[in-house]
């Protein structure tokens, strides 16, 4: 381990506040191609980001190089970068030294998982796919697992360290039919190796199998149930950006200037829970050392706050909400290469709940959307979106009938102002391009706009 104290002392000697963010990861991924294990990757990375606050200005540099000399050069680069930045006199590095305890521990199972055991898990999943139907196969899949260690130190006295484990699997299945192909998928993420691999394989295969011989999808206003991963994709690309402080406080959000106003339906609340159990995004502190907390952003439809990191909060004379997370644009991974920006930790939506079955029964006929394509092309300022729906069924008279692909479009705030219902059951879905976990239910939207096939 580098002697980061020396870098902090370099800053102190020059009257410069300094923060070190150091990240080490050991991660393995098994890749599946055409229903066979294709390859495996094992990647060890270590890198350090140095943020300085000099003469009221922020500068940042990062490096993967290891020597003390490299670290000192990185510090000087950060100081050089600071000279050009805007002045922000009231910025301070976080200084809390006590952090909440979180119910997330590094997993022994993940730490000790051998490549042999990992491939056995994959084989179990592949066999479960074939058990549904011999014609179905996994065209592509990835199973990744590993450990990440984060160290944060600053001249305000923070010394924080956290080790977390993670594993995740995604698989895409295909079921050939005489004139086409039906597709399915499954995904799971967890800080513990607690997946039922056979169940995951069965789910992905069943989705592809049940989607054979789809009928024409009629357009118009339709009841829609967004199944959790599809709901995650739509919300990630629309609502999240509208609630981020650095966008909203600059007027780059439909919700800008609407604090304490009703912005969503009165049965909807949105919470960011930095302490959620069994989540990949939970840690005692955010990526700049602010203690994690639970923040209610929308309470019964009323906008209460946006999320902030220390920098954005200082820009607007506010306090950080513990949401300073480091990730690159359009990336779900956290990284030492980035400055913190306001990002959700664990996104939680609450509303009127019922079982998925009861929702479908009450609002039949209802389109059940399992997957969406192109959610990231939505407008994150206004919440307008139009996505392709390649896996869609219609629930009617107790039956699920596969439908041909169509499009779902509309505005997320408009939809969440309706009588939205959510399923009791939630699924942890990690972001596809944000470093956020979504404790996501299935979401029912009445009268959504559908373009038919």
């Amino acid at each position: 381990m580098m002697d980061f104290e020396k870098v902090l002392n370099m800053g102190r000697a020059r009257g410069i506040e300094v923060e070190i963010f150091h990240q080490e990861t050991t991660f393995s991924t098994i890749n599946i191609e055409y229903h066979k294990i294709h390859s495996m990757d094992a990647v060890d990375t270590a890198g350090t980001g140095i943020r300085v606050f000099a003469d009221g200005k922020i500068g940042f540099a990062f490096t993967t190089e290891k020597t003390q000399k490299d670290m000192e050069r990185c510090f000087r680069e950060a100081v050089r970068a600071a000279r050009h930045s805007k002045t922000l006199k009231n910025f301070v590095f976080p200084s809390e030294k006590k952090f909440p305890s979180v119910n997330v521990r590094p997993s022994n199972k993940i730490e000790r998982l051998s490549s042999g055991e990992a491939t056995e898990h994959i084989q179990t999943m592949l066999d479960a796919v074939k058990a549904v139907n011999r014609e179905i196969f996994v065209c592509e899949g990835h199973f990744g697992y590993g450990i990440e260690k984060t160290v944060i130190m600053n001249t305000a006295g923070v010394r924080a360290e956290f080790v977390r484990s993670a594993c995740g699997i995604t698989i895409a299945t295909a079921c050939p039919t005489p004139d086409s192909v039906s597709i399915g998928f499954e995904e799971a993420e967890s800080p513990e190796l607690d997946f039922d691999f056979a169940e995951l394989g069965k789910n992905a295969a069943s989705l592809a199998f049940n989607g054979r011989n789809p009928e024409k999808l009629e357009g118009g206003k339709k009841n829609v149930l967004l199944v959790a991963p599809a709901a995650r994709n739509v919300i990630e690309s629309t609502l999240l950006g509208m609630l981020q402080g650095h966008h909203a406080m600059r007027g780059e959000s439909l919700f800008a200037g609407k604090l304490n106003e009703k912005v969503l339906g009165e049965n909807i609340s949105i919470i960011d829970d930095g302490l959620l159990e069994n989540s990949l995004a939970t840690a005692p502190f955010d990526d700049e050392g602010t203690p994690s907390r639970t923040t209610t952003l929308i309470d019964a439809g009323i906008l209460k706050t946006f999320i902030f990191d220390a920098y954005t909060a200082a820009e607007f004379n506010l306090k950080t909400t513990g949401n300073g997370i480091r990730s690159m644009r359009l990336s779900a991974g956290r990284t030492f290469k980035s400055l913190p920006t306001p990002n959700f930790r664990n996104f939680v939506i609450t509303s009127e709940t019922a079982s998925t079955e009861a929702i479908l029964k009450d609002f039949s006929p209802c389109l059940v959307v399992y997957a969406v394509l192109g959610a990231h092309t939505a407008n994150p300022i206004t919440g307008n979106f139009a996505v392709n729906i390649p896996i869609v069924f219609e629930y009617m008279n107790g039956e699920m009938k596969p439908k041909k692909q169509g499009m779902l479009s509309g505005n997320i705030a408009d939809y969440l102002n309706r009588r939205v219902m959510i399923s009791k059951k939630r699924k942890n879905c990690y972001g596809t391009f944000t470093p956020t976990n979504f404790a996501m239910p299935d979401i029912f939207i009445p009268d959504a706009q559908i373009t038919g096939s």
Binding site: R80, H84, I183, E252, G374
Partner: protein, 454 residues
């Protein structure tokens, strides 16, 4: 490093390669009057791939010492020995000793940070002509990627590729209405790229579009004739065709174009090319990450599917020629089959002629990106803005316009290809890893496209 793989690889290693990569970056963000981020970075590491026992093991580290390289080699070897699954083979492995040091005419280091910021300020001042543009974010980025590549067959390639880009986001608002439009220019090379692709012009275009959309109506939902501008036709080539031509997907049973080589997949107006050799384009590179020299690939010629994009593995598996399409995001990732600069070749239609023949349709401009499911053959992409076409004339502005269709039918539905080919739209393509690409094309007209409005 040249003899490292020979000396240290176990006798039953069929093939091994090593990439040592060093990426130097600078990123400056200006929001309105102020610099909000100035970040410099140095990211280096090694990635080693081993083919043994018919399986591929890959190990990478940010530790670039010889000892670390040896550990990676051993780890990659052990992985490959333990994997039982697919039987991978590589044929016609590169043995070239080559060097491609791209410098650019105006290298990054010859222009100070102060000058770069000064240029951004000049650019920002141009936005003052657009009074409803309330927020303007300019992001300047530069990178220099230096790669050393070695393989166990004796190849040794040294590469250096600089990239430079300017991204522009304009947020316009008035009377409670708000819109946002982004634009970007850039490519491989130094700051001279801004002479070829003008940030000034892109900024004016972006700001004007943001203002126009304040009074735009939602796009209609339904099935219409669509005319796509050069930027969007590039995304169309990338999403609707390029991804399905990636041979790893073809082999995995994940492409609707599997088994369709030399068959008609579109009408004879359509020719699509992927070309990483184009000077200055964002998706250009001299050698791929398996050390194969890059070349121009005609994917579709006159509506006939002519080739796939290949890595060593896919070319060997399908008994075809490798074509330098294996790319890795960094040292920490193994190469995958990827696109480069993908575009539709020009035709002979004039734009006005195309519009004149449309009774009711949509003119879609710019791109917010897209996504494809190559297995089922469906795709979606979104335009930055649109216009209605009524009785052969472009009329009302539209906002939040998305298009979706099927790969196997859409190329038959193109009934006009313009003569106004334009490239220079930089982007990043995600497939588990991000790589820089660009796309482009002429205006194209497509019948019966599913359109969704936000």
């Amino acid at each position: 490093m040249e003899d490292f793989l020979h000396r240290h690889a176990s006798p039953d290693v069929t093939y091994a390669d090593l990439r040592s990569v060093r990426i130097k970056t600078l990123y400056i963000e200006m929001k309105n009057e102020e610099i909000t981020r100035c970040v410099s970075g140095m990211d280096s590491g090694i990635g080693i791939r081993v083919l043994s026992n018919g399986a591929i093991g890959f190990a990478a580290s940010t530790d670039v010492t010889r000892k670390s390289a040896q550990q990676c080699l051993e780890k990659a070897y052990k992985i490959s020995k333990n994997l039982k699954g697919k039987t991978v083979r590589f044929e016609k492995v590169n043995t070239e000793k080559g060097k491609a040091i791209w410098k650019g005419k105006k290298p990054h280091e010859t222009v100070s940070i102060e000058e770069k910021i000064g240029y951004m300020k000049e650019l920002r001042d141009l936005a003052s002509d657009y009074r409803n543009v309330k927020n303007l974010t300019l992001t300047y980025s530069e990178s220099l990627i230096e790669t050393e590549f070695y393989n166990s067959n004796g190849a040794c390639i040294l590469m250096s590729v600089p990239r430079t880009a300017m991204r522009i986001q304009a947020v316009a608002s008035t009377e409670g209405k708000i819109t946002s439009v982004t634009g970007s220019v850039g490519g491989t090379g130094g700051l001279e790229i801004f002479m070829k692709y003008s940030p000034e012009e892109e900024l004016k275009k972006t700001c004007a579009s943001a203002e126009r959309q304040l009074n735009a109506q939602n796009a209609p939902s339904g099935v219409f004739t669509v005319i796509a501008d050069p930027e969007l036709s590039g995304v169309f080539a990338h999403e609707a065709l390029g991804h399905a031509c990636e041979a790893d997907g073809v082999i995995a049973g994940g492409s609707c174009l599997a088994g369709r080589l030399n068959t008609r997949i579109g009408n004879d107006l359509v020719t699509v090319v992927d070309d990483p050799t184009l000077p200055g384009e964002n998706g250009s590179f001299p050698y791929d990450d398996e050390g194969t020299k890059t070349c121009r690939k005609v994917l579709v010629e006159g509506g006939i599917l002519k080739s796939y994009l290949h890595s060593l593995e896919t070319a060997t598996f399908l008994g075809m020629e490798k074509n330098g399409s294996a790319r890795a995001e960094s040292y920490a990732a193994p190469p995958l089959v990827r696109m480069s600069n993908t575009f539709i070749e020009k035709g002979d239609f004039g734009f006005e002629e195309m519009v004149k023949e449309v009774k009711f349709g949509v003119y879609a401009k710019g791109s917010r990106g897209g996504q494809v499911d190559t297995t089922k053959g469906t795709f979606q992409f979104s335009a930055q803005e649109g216009f209605l076409i009524e009785n052969g004339e472009i009329t009302k502005p539209l906002k939040d316009l998305s298009l979706a269709s099927d790969i196997l039918s859409i190329f038959h539905q193109i009934d006009a290809v313009g003569k106004d080919l334009a490239l220079g739209h930089p982007g990043n393509c995600g497939k588990g890893q991000w790589v820089p690409v660009s796309d482009g094309g002429p205006h194209i007209r497509i019948r019966d496209v599913r359109v969704g409005g936000g």
